[in-house]
Every structure is written in C-alpha cells, then in structure tokens.
Symmetry: C2
Subunit: 252 residues, 2 copies
C-alpha cells in the first residue's frame, strides 16, 4: 500500500499490529454499499487511543466487515486542551457549530443553559454522529467530548479552579480577543464561553465577573450569531495559542 | 424614542432627515404580518450610503408601508477592505459561508472556479437575500458585494496589482496564518483565497507562486472544509489586522 487510504473510520476496537477488527453494521454498509469496497482494499482506522492505522478488508458482507490491521500510520496525539461552552441553539445551527468546532480541534463541547437561552434540549446521539463524521474527515486522532447541557451556575461551579475561562461578551472591560489570547501561555488549558444571542443577564455577568481567572474578550463591532461567535473564538485561540503553528498533514 | 429599534432593514432609498421611505412589498409584509407592527412604531434603516437612521411607520397595509425618517443614529462607515475568494461549494454550506462571512465583515465575496471545483453554479439572488438578512442582523452599515463566479486564472489576472493575496494552502512554504497576517499592515486591503477541498492543481499552484505579493498561509494540522477555512481565515485577519480591536455596539 503506497499511500494513506482515503476512507477513514472511527472505531471502538483496540488497534494494534495483527489485530482483527469487526466493523459496526453501519460502517460495513457504508464500505460495501456506498463506497463499494471489496476484500483487499484498504481503509484508515483510529480509535482515540492507539493512533492511526491502515487496515485491509478481509471479508465483507451484508451488515458485517472484518478488517486486518496493517501499518501504524500515526502515533496517538490529542487536540489542544480547549473547551467550548456555549448556550444551546437550534438544530441546524448547532450541527454546524459542532461539526466545525470538531474541525477546529475542540476537545470538549459543553452546552450551557443560561437565563436567555431559548433552546434547552440537545439530542446527544445526533451530535455524536456529527462529531464522529467530522473527526473522521478532518483527520484528527481523537473525538471531542460532548457533554450534557448544564445550567450556567452549575457549569461555573464545576469548572476547574485553575483553568482559564475566556468569556466572549459585549460588556464591561471586554478587550479584543486577540489581545486576551496573546496573554495566555501557548497551549495552556482554556475554556471559551459564548453566551446566548440575548446576552448574559446582570446576575450572570456578576457570576462571571466574580470569578478569579476569568477574562472578557470582545469579538469585534458586529453582532455575531452564537455559532459564529463560538467558532470565531475557537479559531483565534487555535491560531494564536493552539496548534495552528503546526503544518498540515502531507498530501499528494 | 429612547433606544434603537430592534428591527433593522436594508433599503435602497436615500435616507435623510425628513425623508419618506416606501418599503418593498416583502419588507412591508414582514413588518405588518410577521412582526405585527403598526403606525407609530419605529424601525431602523440603512442603505450602505447614508449611515443608519430611525424611521417611524406612518402607514402600513397589505403590501405597502410608508416610513418617516427620524434620527441619524450612526454615520456611514464600511467594513474593512477584505475580500474572500473561494471555490464554490454546495448550497447549504455556501449559504452558511456567505451569511457568516457577512457577520465577519467581509467586503467582497468572489466565487472562484478551480480545476478541482465540483460546484460551478452559484444562485446570485438567493445569496443576495442571505447577505442582506445577515447584514441587517449583524448591524453592519454596508452590504458585502457578491460577484459572479470566475475562473481562477481570470480572477488572478484581474486581481489588483498592489493588493496582497493570502492563499490558504497546504503546500510549499505555507506559514501559520497568524504569522502571515501579523506581517501585514493593519487594515491594508487584502484578499483571502481558499481553494477547493481537493486542493489546487500543480498548474494553479504555479500560477499562485508566480505572483508577486502572494503569501501562503496554513490553517493548522486538520483538514478543514472549504467553508470552515474561509471563515477561519477571515476571522484571523479581522482579529489581528481588521476591525476587531473596536468595541461592540453599545447594548442595553
């Protein structure tokens, strides 16, 4: 096999030299009926633990596929330690946010219900499917963690003490986000918090302002939709303090 | 009228003290049947030329509305001189890109057809409607210009000589985008070019490398979808060299 296979799948199975992997019915169907791959063809596998491996299709049928793990292509690494806390939004926009946050290397996605949040329910299964597909396509070696929604006060109470929180807000002493991020140690764990489109209430603002280690960042003079704001904050952090100093993967 | 009206509309009419504005049937329907506004209520108007004005509904009926222009709320400014050149993508993703690029303050959106572009046609009317709505909601004072698709070689031939071109690519001597943007004079006119998901061909790469004033920027170690890449490039430029050093508009 001369180059890395284009088809990339996230699996739960352990991956190691000589291992045999049985695919899920969904994955088997995808390879067999959508991509029309046959025994002898290669795919790429990752599981978030063992890095990335090539694997050869040994057998494939209706609802099943058996793969023989081949070469260890990449060692396991994880995306930088950046969390995105955001007020839930409606389905299509949420899907967009979660997919692109995955491409942008987020490690944890935490929906946070605020007083002005309109949407409270988030369908975990669909989000997980979106996240997995985005992770497969963007070639990251891990999946972001998707958390159940929690209320803001609880999210803040549970937030690790020493972890920096950057709240993207339009009030008070918010400074431009590039300036705020530039002051953070590169790669240091960070949480980016984006509020609902109605903004934070005065009580929520007080809750944030009373935290040690919380910083307030502005995202420019235009009003951004919540998903735009979340992705923008993530982008700026990755570009200035995250892993965007690294080269892209080699391509043909 | 004590605070700025929430409903904000882009109109073609001239705006000045004492002017009378007749709304389009679509806008009239929106105010009357969707928002249920009545005479005496105020809206906000902008036209990309005369800044932002309040306006009071004088009369409103089925398919028509007459507004009396009131106070001059904001002086005309335009978004920074940043253009986004990108290979066209499918409808839903294109809508997202155009909407969010508008929120992110792009001045011109130029679809560029490359050899590996899959989608060639772009429906101008629908894009314009998306852009107008996004501009109304994000509170910018101008609309981005949406151009007809052109081929890459023509787009490059027509590209103003002295204008910096930042191509977001995965080859050659691409440096991290934050580094590339940091070297540009803040606010200086710039074009951000994002290629198709299949990448540029060797011929296209040569075309780019042979230009003076072209720079090559990387967007990190993950593979980004085209719309993610476009928005990310725009975000980084705005945050570091654009107008994100400015405060957000004052809100209640």
């Amino acid at each position: 096999m001369s180059e890395k296979p284009a088809t990339r799948l996230f699996v739960e199975s352990d991956l190691a030299e000589g291992a045999v992997v049985g695919l899920s019915p969904d994955h088997a169907h995808f390879l067999r009926s959508v991509l029309r791959l046959e025994p002898g063809r290669w795919v790429t596998l990752f599981n978030g633990r063992d890095g990335e491996w090539s694997a050869r299709i040994d057998g494939i049928g209706k609802g099943w596929a058996s793969l023989a793990v081949g070469d260890h292509l990449r060692t396991q690494t994880s995306c930088p330690d950046v969390w995105l806390y955001f007020a839930p939004i409606k389905r299509a926009r949420l899907d967009f946010l979660v997919q692109k946050a995955t491409e942008l290397g987020v490690r944890r996605i935490q929906p946070v219900v605020t007083q002005r949040t309109i949407v409270e329910r988030v369908k975990g299964d669909r989000l997980s499917a979106n996240v997995t597909e985005a992770a497969e396509q963007c070639e990251r070696l891990d999946l972001p963690e998707i958390c159940e929604p929690v209320r803001l006060d609880r999210a803040l109470a549970d937030h690790p003490e020493g972890r920096t929180l950057v709240a993207c807000v339009e009030f008070g002493d918010a400074r431009p986000i590039a300036e705020v991020v530039s002051e953070l140690p590169p790669g240091a764990p960070v949480t980016l918090l984006v509020g609902p489109e109605g903004g934070f209430t005065p009580e929520e603002r007080a809750l944030l302002e009373n935290r040690t280690n919380a910083r307030f960042a502005g995202l420019g003079p235009r009003i951004l939709r919540a998903e735009t704001a979340g992705l923008a904050a993530l982008t700026v952090w990755q570009a200035l303090a995250g892993d965007w100093a690294e080269s892209p993967p080699k391509r043909a």
